[in-house]
């Protein structure tokens, strides 16, 4: 599902260059639940954004869900993010003015050209199904501000599931949650993996890495 070879990511400061990922290799098979752990600033999120096609400015080879990311243009990467990947962020990143169901519907509005686009009512139906899967159907009409942290993250997970992607990328998904909410999110990830989905999660929390099938440590720009 994920194959990174000799990936290098540099950040340029004013007159200094920092190598965040240094000839990094990563192999993740389909259906695996992999956790990447490491200290703050070690490049975990950067790795996730490269795998998810959000960051195209890297060296090396990245093949994810059968697509060579280095060869994709901006439109191709957008289509890749829409179809193949679901993102879950630490700070949920829900649009505050939209009710939960509208937030979940968002990926369906950006179906790439050439693919059948669902109608708005179909999309709403699928969004409600996704909310059902995370146990929040009854709160579909609520604005994010009227949901708890755990509920917001479950809405974000429902949004990531809408396009039925093969790969879920989660960036510190339990970082802003209490223990109970964190457990429920981890349980959701477990359920997804059980249904054949690949989950790559970056975290510094032991409870998350403990649930993963494989744990990788990111140190000095490389995975160990």
């Amino acid at each position: 599902m994920i194959s990174l070879r000799q990936v290098v990511k540099r950040f340029r400061d004013v007159d200094e260059e920092h190598v965040v990922l240094d000839r990094l290799d990563l192999e993740v098979r389909a259906g695996e639940f992999v956790a990447v752990v490491g200290a703050s600033g070690s490049g975990k999120s950067t790795l996730l954004y490269i795998v998810g096609g959000l960051d195209a400015d890297f060296e090396g080879e990245a093949v994810v869900a059968g697509r060579r990311l280095g060869e994709l243009g901006a439109r191709g990467r957008a289509a890749f993010r829409n179809e193949a990947v679901g993102f879950v962020f630490q700070s949920f990143n829900l649009l505050p003015a939209l009710p939960a169901v509208e937030n979940v519907m968002l990926p369906g509005l950006f179906v790439p050209p050439g693919r059948p686009a669902p109608s708005l009512s179909e999309l709403r139906g699928r969004a409600l199904e996704a909310l059902e899967q995370v146990g929040l159907r009854e709160k579909a009409g609520r604005l994010p501000a009227r949901l708890s942290g755990g509920e917001r993250q479950r809405v974000a997970i429902a949004r990531a599931l809408l396009s039925r992607p093969a790969l879920l990328l989660a960036d510190e998904p339990t970082g802003n949650l209490d223990a109970t909410s964190g457990e429920s999110v981890i349980a959701l990830f477990g359920g997804m993996v059980a249904r054949g989905m690949t989950v790559l999660v970056v975290t510094h929390e032991e409870r998350v890495s403990a649930a993963a099938g494989r744990v990788l440590h990111l140190e000095d720009g490389r995975l160990r």
Binding site: G52, A74, A78, R81, N93, L120, R159
Partner: protein, 428 residues
Amino acid sequence: MRTRALVHLATLNLRSDRRGALVNAGAACLGAAALVFFVALGIGVGQAARRMFAGDARLVEVVPAAVSLGGALGGGQLDDGAVERLGGLPGVEAAYRRLSLRVPVAASRAPEGVKVNWPPGFTVQVPIVGVDPGLLAGDVARGLRFEDPPPGGAIPVLASRRLVEVYNKTIAPAWNLRRLPPGLDLVGLEFPVRVGFSIIPLKTEDRVYDARLLLAGLSERVPLYSLAVPLATVRRLHAEYGKVDPGYTGVTLEVRRPDDVPRVVAAVRGMGFGVDEGERAIAERVGLAIAVTAGALALLALLMTALAALAIAQSLSASVRARTRDIAVLEALGATAGDVRAMVLAEAGLVGATGGLAGVALARVAALVADRAALGALPDFPFRPETFFSFPAWLYVLGVAISLGAALVGALAPAAAAARVDPARAVA
């Protein structure tokens, strides 16, 4: 992104910032309303002026020069030779002769068949001009003929279309006379007159006899102050009363296209004749004044629209800055830079279109209020319009299009800024 999805997303975004959307739509609305209002006013007042100073744009009235050296410089009298030369000028389609009747004609009784409380002893001198029938052929009522009648027959006359309006709005109220029915209801009526009689002392001819004038039609080509009869009738009356015709009073040239008029006027003046610009000059001056005023006001309205575009640009820029993370999230979910640009433009487009529609409606309401106020304050005068505004269909389209265009232009920079958002940095 599909259009339906785009509109849905733009609507959601606007709904989330109702206040900003309303302020922007209000700015676009005011700009569009001002533009539509002033352009409609310009068109409406222009139309009213044209009704007031109606003139055929293809006619040139040639008169003998005010100061003439006879035929030495080719000008002088308007005789048949001159008429022939004028008719041969490039661009001239026809030349029609005019000859004022120098035998006085007066009316001392009301027209037959019309109830008018004609004051006892009231006599009206009737100015009459003879014209070539071809000039008025199109305005003669069906079944009537515009030619010199046989002895004892009623003389056909054509009156200015505007005469009835002037009579009803000024003469009738001033003299406490009954108002005349409009337009064609009068055609076919006969007016008893006394030929040779003048209300001016010593101007009455030796021979005075009763005759009848038959109103054969109404025409814009007849001067407001006189009645037109066939040229042959004037010649006959002049012969009867021993009046010599040294030349015609005037010649009306009909040119092929209104654009030819300036060239023909120059050629006529070059021949040593004068051109009576009369009502046409007034109409042109009034029209120009209206066009300049309406143009200036429309320019002001365009400036307002440009300010609305600036307001929208500023507001959308702030909105895009505030939504940087949201935009990055949309990109993470699959939106392309083009989708983001289209989304911001669609928001502006919805605001502009809504503002434009509201502006057009506001302009109509403002015009209604202005009409009521103006018509309530103004006295009843000839050709007083029922409205000072005209709203052709294209003006509605223009109002909405300008508003939409201003909003889209205002949104270009914010949309470009939104499309440049780096999702990897913004969601982190």
